[in-house]
Symmetry: C2
Subunit: 264 residues, 2 copies
Amino acid sequence: MTIQDQWFDGAILRLADPQNQRVWSIIVSLFGDLAQGPDDRISGAALTRIIQPMHVKPEAIRVALHRLRKDGWVDSARSGRSSVHHLTEFGRAQSAAVTPRIYDRDPDIPHDWHLLMSEGSGSLDDLLLTENYISIGRNAALGSGAIPPNCDDMVVFNVTARNVPSWLKSRLCPPDLIKACGSLADAVKDVPSSRPAELNLTAAQVATLRTLIVHRWRRVALRNPDLPPMFFPDDWRGQDCRASVFALLDTLPKPDLNALNAPV
Amino acid sequence: MTIQDQWFDGAILRLADPQNQRVWSIIVSLFGDLAQGPDDRISGAALTRIIQPMHVKPEAIRVALHRLRKDGWVDSARSGRSSVHHLTEFGRAQSAAVTPRIYDRDPDIPHDWHLLMSEGSGSLDDLLLTENYISIGRNAALGSGAIPPNCDDMVVFNVTARNVPSWLKSRLCPPDLIKACGSLADAVKDVPSSRPAELNLTAAQVATLRTLIVHRWRRVALRNPDLPPMFFPDDWRGQDCRASVFALLDTLPKPDLNALNAPV
């Protein structure tokens, strides 16, 4: 086993999400990262080359693809003896909806916040589901920018935070999210620190590492509210994690789909 | 019966609070208006002269004084065959606490509002009782000026209201308060409109009318939150009522205590 292979195997272990190795979810991350375009295709063989090194059996990949087809995320076609897969229009829309948040290296923290307070919780629930609102209690939600229409039945305040108590901080950033963020930050720093000077990864190997990083970061980034620093617990390492994730991704440029799909 | 007596009797009927003619409460309003100083005394005979015209029997005045003594509001002393009454230190403190709100002709509406939100309701309940906070939901209260100490466990926002829905307006100004305010506004306009050109009221008669006005206004003023206009329902007549109350009081200058106490 070469030094490079050792490093690659070690990186896989280090980057694998200890919480979520569901294969269908990994495939979603993979397509989102490498094949989100309407004409992008990934062959079954390429998928196997990318995912199998994560200690996932080919059978598990087939089951996951079956599920993704059933749920309308992925479509597949046969091409001779092999198959090619692509995101459906629905899958691309879902993917595109979260891409800006996942790939934002330096999110703008809005300055113009407002608070909506409802009498019951019904009308607020709708907003929390469909808009980018942050619940801060049974009947209150924080948002930024323009106030949505249909808020006539809510109290609307423009707000500036003066104090954020620990109970709200840990509601916004619960301990498991703090831990997931911290351990990912550590992982994406460890992996490049042991990287051999000479490294010639295949396109599939680059895709494997990228997928692992993006998959795990996605689960942190999408739960990380874009709030001013005072809303976060002291042990929140969101900035550190984000910077280290993108520093590592930058050393692993997205491989070309043709290179990925080319028979080995 | 003279025209003046007719007008005086009519004014009493018009100014009497349809909701609250509890005698002890009338006596509290009377002392607050006319005898709030530490050396101020009102004789039993003067009290009777002021209150009896409100269709209150002397026996009811005695019972009310007994209750006020028992509750520590009023103290009494005998002076020969008659008695004199005064507010206790406690009574004066209670009276002084609400005097600024009752007698404010043109309350400053604060511009610097903040919202406190608690996790449970306990800590907020304390503030709502002891400070000038306005509840706007189970776990939220509006206040102005400096943020009190001991708010570490609360979310604190500086706020500017953008929308106040009708459910909050009618919580802040419930229908019975709107009605009480409107009917008082009508009464204090009606009474001077029928006032005879020649009017020579006794000190006691002036005190009777002042007491009725202050007593009824007190119950509106102390429930009227000092919030910006957008928080009030359209049919709220607080400004109109306040202006008319003070216009009428200005025509009935506070009588001198010596004049009130002088045997007739």
